[in-house]
């Protein structure tokens, strides 16, 4: 997350177009951080953080790859300044990972049986009518 801008270099062209949205997401993130955890489950408290992080990276990713609305320079600048998560975006370019919710959900080493998160299981492979909500980020299914 880009808290302090260290580089003296001014942001590339088009920055002023995306800045308001990014500020808004920053604001939302700050709210999510300060919100109280009362009545939440332990795992639930981090879910909004993961969600906003995902949104912000998704915003930059869509602008560059889908809508082609920003320049290469600006995109690289956002990655370099850690405004978007470049590791997450790298996954999104892979087939089957287009909707990946967070990197924790594909970290197989963190699980007992070396498996991915339940949210990575395609809906039709799950038993019918089962509602999932993964413990890592609260994702309800990010595959297929």
């Amino acid at each position: 997350m880009p808290r302090v801008r260290r580089s003296r270099k001014p942001p590339p062209d088009g920055w002023e177009l995306i800045e308001p949205t990014l500020d808004e997401l920053d604001q939302k993130m700050r709210e999510a951080e300060t919100e109280s955890h009362d009545g939440m489950r332990k795992v639930e408290s981090l879910w909004p953080i993961f969600k906003i992080h995902h949104q912000k990276s998704r915003y930059i990713f869509d602008l560059f790859y889908r809508r082609k609305a920003i320049s290469r320079e600006l995109y690289d600048y956002c990655l370099k300044e850690n405004i978007a998560d470049k590791n997450l975006i790298a996954k999104w370019k892979k087939q089957g990972y287009e909707n990946l919710c967070c990197l924790r959900c594909i970290q197989a080493r963190d699980t007992n049986f070396g498996t991915n998160c339940i949210c990575r299981v395609p809906k039709d492979k799950l038993e019918a009518g089962k509602v999932v909500e993964c413990v890592h980020c609260g994702c309800r299914g990010c595959s297929g």
């Binding site: 009545g39 007992n112 049986f113 509602v131 999932v132």
Partner: protein
Amino acid sequence: MATSLGANRYNRQNWEESDFPILCQTCLGDNPYIRMTKEKFGKECKICDRPFTVFRWCPGARMRFKKTEVCQTCAKLKNICQTCLLDLEYGLPIQTRDFALGLQNQDIPRSDVNKEYYTQNMEREIANTDGTVAVGSVGKAQAPSDILVRMARTTPYYKRNRPHICSFWVKGECKRGEECPYRHEKPTDPDDPLSDQNIKDRYYGINDPVADKLLRRANESIDQEAVKPPEDRTISTLYIGGLGEAIDEDDLRNHFYQFGEIRSINVVGKQNCAFVQFTKRSEAEHAAQKSAGRLLLKGKRLVVRWGKSQQSGRKDGGDKGESSKGQQFDPVPGLPGALPMPSAVGSGPGHYYGNQQQKNYLEPPPPGTVPMPGQDGGVMGVAPPTIAPPVMMMPPGYPGPAPNMPVHYPSQNPHRMGS
């Protein structure tokens, strides 16, 4: 209390390390492919307080994760499942099992040091055996009593593995809704003694409400099942209920031939029951006495009762019959006349008894009766009201057809409506 692993001096215990848990079929679940996690020294044994290897697994879809609760030494001492603490062989609580086997309540020490010493001795004893026989008094008492067989669980009871009831939902504040992995169901009455169990009492076999309930029920069923032979001396038929698909006529014959000559066996597949008729009344009495409440065929527990003659069934249903007398069925005109009696009733082993069976009718079937061998005991309305062959029996509680019901045509029979 558990000392460090390195402390292995005299009178200090070894910590348990195992490769496989001791579990019952129910706790393992219905899936033959289970993934288990193993955690060395993961928890204290809930009985002896020593660290042991904890196994954790999910016993099937929509079940809660289960883990081992007591160490293997404690489990082997009582021959129980490490998780549910029920007997491995009979699936019964320890208190019930010990009572049925006639075991005295063993005095397992409860204080720290004594317990340590006792476990240590027991471990030595276990190490000396080959592991095929239960250790301690359980292994020595190998005389399965009637009551034990009657109470024993024959099939796994997977409902026990269901998730617990959601405590938030009970309070009305569960926010997880559909995603909630716990059960959203009304809890049982908290005043019910069954809701107050604890693992130590269950292990030591004292104050176990489940065991009390089982014993009470077993005693009640003995009283009930001291089935009195009916007054009617002509009845020599036993009703066998709860057959299922696995048990056929041969299985019944194999069991009942020991009591005397069997005149006929009618298996009513639709109602999962059968009627075994003996040639002599005394044989039937003997069979009822020996089998009632303890008949176990192919792992299924069967109900044995006396058959009722159709007449007595009619007396029972007499009141109902009076009221429904108004709606009598008109005889169907133009029905074909009497069919000739078949030479043999049914097929298979019954064939040999066919002729004899007809001779044994107290009254020969009058002309006009159309015997329907497959439906004996099932649909009885097909017989004309003038005569009911006494060999036809019906299960107790079966509402016999109303009297004076001149049903001539199967489709007129209200019992068959919609079937």
